[in-house]
Amino acid sequence: MGRHIEITIPEYGVSAVAELLEQLAPHTCQQIWEILPFQGICCHASTFGSAIVAHIPASEELPKEENQTIYPIPGDLFLYYYPAERVHRIPKEWEGKLSGLEKGVLQVVCFYGRNSIPFGWTGPIPGNRFGCCSHNLDNFGMACQRVYLEGCTMIQVSRSAEQ
């Protein structure tokens, strides 16, 4: 079996486990694996539908297009990368909650509900689909709804021992 990661929202004591799609997005998976564990701010989407977005400062070169799609289903994990010159395209809604992203930012987006399309200023934005939640998505989705109702909170992503 392949590698797994664990996504935790400590405030709500909820974790989900996701399988990395190493065959479909090998470079993305490898780069995600290497930056783990990380902790950052997650916000609920305002243009991506039923999704939460975790932000990680990043300044190194990151994967180009790999296994891209604009049609997520519940449980999908997408990676977006905004280099320094494109950081301004991140939705303004989260300003004040995010900091230290001037040199570029990684977004790990976790879709937890149906009928979600990642919309940006110029239409749907393809993301690298690199993982798929395999355990506890229902409870995790409830926690994501709480992020919507109660506001941004901390999120942790770590390597999972699960095989």
């Binding site: 989407a45 305002s46 243009t47 991506f48 300003e95």
Partner: protein
């Protein structure tokens, strides 16, 4: 001058005034006017973009389409109706305040505060009756709206103005 309504995000103590578009959407304006004052949970859009919304009491003589649009611009105030079971409201929403039952259909008022906004529902773009436009204090109002997604849902109050 025609009638106006006042829209307030209660926790942020910010109020903007909107002119009712009575020539363009007379029935919608009448329904809204008769429903006021209202105070309810203020949610931020998840898919549509820079928009906040709250629920309205049922429109017994309606709903009818009147001056509908799927292309809102900043400052637009639109009415939406979703028939029974058009979508599911997460159970968790009912724990934070008064949220209507999906069994009777949903009546909603949405305030657009920025661009780009596309009112997308589960089955594609959703037309709303554009019945008012924000005028006085719109910029200050728009400045606090993003906090509704970053800090969680709040309270929206709509009252009769002049």
């Amino acid at each position: 001058m025609g009638r106006q309504i006042e829209i307030t995000v209660v926790e942020y103590r910010v109020t903007a005034t909107a002119d009712l578009l009575e020539d363009l959407a007379p029935s919608t304006c009448e329904y809204i006017w008769e429903s006021l004052p209202i105070e309810g949970l203020c949610f931020h859009a998840q898919q549509t973009g820079p928009m906040i919304f709250t629920f309205l009491p049922p429109w017994h003589k309606g709903p009818i389409q009147e001056y509908p649009s799927i292309y809102p611009i900043p400052g637009d105030v639109c009415f939406y109706y979703y028939p029974p079971n058009y979508f599911q409201i997460p159970k968790l929403w009912y724990t934070v305040g008064r949220v209507p039952s999906m069994k009777k259909g949903i009546f909603e008022v949405a305030v657009y505060y920025g661009r780009p906004a596309v009112p997308l529902g589960p089955a594609g773009p959703v037309p709303g009756n554009r019945f008012a436009i924000l005028t006085d204090n719109f910029e200050n109002f728009a400045a606090v709206c993003p906090r509704v997604i970053a800090e969680g849902c709040k309270t929206l109050r709509i009252t009769r103005g002049r």
